[in-house]
Symmetry: C2
Subunit: 372 residues, 2 copies
């Protein structure tokens, strides 16, 4: 989503900081994923941005959803979404949340431990289980930690244990890492899935659900593989190697960032300037704690001003008096003044949802480009 | 603040996650700082925890306050606090906030740049300015970055510039780093202040305000200097070397963590367990995003269960499905079960205030030990 006159004009209507969302972009990205991964069901990962208008837009597009908490469930219930279009692929769920999933007839959920099987059997009996396996994360901006997933070699006992508790193991899920820039990660993961699929079949466990996880990248400062190429690799692998799958095979993917990241711009104002040694500093009204938490992890954004005359390098600090609150470094801009607006592109995902009111600063409001 | 029967009984009244605050401890820590730094005015740094009951308790104790935002100001206004007891030592303030400070007759504020002088002269004319200088942060758990402060050598032009804009430069402020474990940092900083003090006097700029900043440490897993020793060093330095200061000299300190950190316990429940390779994992209902943001920066907490029989080492993950959400590592506990409570000690500062509702998980509520 590029900075244009419409966005600049719209931005002048509001007090900063705010996130300006283009819902048409949300639809466009959703449909683009559908197109390049034909036959794959797109479950929007609600954690990326659960604003009701974004959810509503995706419901209208006929999207499915992956949730992890009661608040996310309630948001979907408001949209009268069929429980068949909702999964919970977080492998660890509280007893309370499992009860709510059961009450709401949401039966497809992930697991990756014996304790989770016991818990699901007790609070959501009869559920359909998707086993989360560990796969290669090489080439992703944020390789996942060991927080979730079992090694494929340890999968069978867990599948059998679920069966023994009268649950239904229906398939597999994995995650290739966030902002995955290696298109082969999905294909490599599918090789592992295929082997497990066949192994399970030998044990008379018939899978019919395959989740491709998250990790679809969006363009920031480094090259990413084309969605078309990722899609081609996945489709080829699925048609060549999952022929033995019991039909109908339901293939799911759970993008978040890839749908909303590039659908919004964060607009913030310069509130201070300082020269510190040889460094030029700017201070803006949205920082690490009220919008740009991901910068702590090394995430970078494209940053623009109205004038496209980049002449000076800045370090940019947030509004709180916390020394950690320095969201942007080495940003080349025009020589901005106090009161000027700074436009942070591709800021739709993991910004407002991570934000707190630390030090008394507001969470940026969300506005929509199409609203009058 | 140690885990005892009263806390355990009280904790059983509430649904996790929550922060259990002992307001008596808040008063105790405040008075302990007053006692060990006699003659020094304690300005509570509101960003550490701005819960209204904590603020109210400190107002009753006759504390002063350091603020940075409109919300913090409003909270103090509700307590009818005199504007003389409020400072804003954040060196960068938005034009809007400066107007509010001016309207509210809050005149003591920090600065460290020429642009800030221009802004203050315009929006809060006549204000009393405290120059933030850079000092040695050696031996602090979080040395500050270059976000704020001028090198002492660059101080004079800034002081004169403020005078030229009809503002009143009244003194100096510094920060020795967060969780400062080197008692000499304050003394070393005061040496720098003394020199600048004398230099300013030569220019006919008469200081009467000296802020010792933040950084008073609380006990976690590593030894810290005794408050008494920090106080002794500061008092000795002040009485020996600031005799030439125009009286009355107002000396301020701005602790946050040292007052509320050790005044509360975060109570969370185990919602999942898994064995991953050789690692034992627990999953709890408060994680990095809804309470333990500081763990990302390496902050560690003392973690307890009811039974004091530590036998097993755990990695502890939070409730969101984000792979960054792993607040605690290498925690030795009893062999806890799903539903058991985990007590995180010294969690009063920089926990609930940093928390967001990411992934739909609630910000822990705050309860008070003394309430029936």
């Amino acid at each position: 989503m590029k900075l244009n006159k419409q966005i600049i004009n719209k931005s002048n209507q509001f007090k900063t900081p705010f996130l300006l969302v283009d819902l048409k972009q949300v639809s466009k990205h959703y449909n683009n994923i559908k197109k390049n991964l034909s036959g794959v069901e797109v479950f929007y990962s609600m954690k990326a941005n659960d604003h009701p208008r974004i959810v509503e837009t995706l419901v209208k597009e006929n999207a499915s959803f992956d949730i992890t908490s009661e608040r996310e469930l309630n948001s979907l219930n408001k949209n009268s979404l069929s429980s068949k279009k909702i999964t919970c692929l977080n492998p660890i769920k509280s007893p309370e949340f499992l009860k709510r999933l059961f009450e709401n007839k949401i039966t497809i959920m992930a697991y990756d431990s014996f304790d989770e099987v016991d818990k699901i059997a007790r609070y959501a009996p009869g559920s359909k289980l998707v086993l989360r396996i560990v796969v290669d994360n090489e080439g992703s901006d944020w390789p996942l930690t060991k927080k979730y997933g079992v090694n494929p070699a340890e999968a069978l006992p867990l599948l059998k244990y679920a069966l023994g508790k009268k649950l239904q193991p229906i398939g597999l899920t994995f995650h290739v890492g966030s902002q995955c820039r290696n298109k082969n990660n999905w294909v490599n993961a599918l090789f592992v899935c295929e082997t497990l699929w066949a192994l399970a079949k030998k044990e008379n466990i018939h899978f019919n659900f395959l989740s491709l996880g998250g990790g679809l990248p969006i363009q920031h400062d480094r090259p990413i593989p084309a969605l078309e190429d990722i899609g081609k690799g996945i489709k080829k692998m699925l048609s060549n190697n999952f022929k033995s799958a019991d039909s109908p095979l339901r293939v799911a993917i759970e993008p978040g960032r890839a749908i909303v990241g590039d659908s919004a711009i964060m607009v913030t104002s310069v509130i201070g300037k300082a020269k510190r040694g040889s460094e030029n500093w700017l201070y803006v009204d949205t920082g690490v704690f009220n919008g740009f938490m991901e910068t702590i992890d090394g995430f970078t954004y494209d940053i623009k001003t109205i004038k496209n005359t980049a002449i000076k390098k800045f370090t940019i600090g947030g509004p709180s008096c916390d020394s950690v609150d320095i969201p942007f470094k080495n940003v080349v801009l025009e020589d901005v003044k106090i009161g000027d607006k700074i436009y942070v592109l591709n800021a739709g995902a993991y910004t407002t949802v991570y934000a707190s009111t630390f030090n008394g600063f507001e969470i940026p409001k969300t506005y929509f480009l199409s609203d009058d």
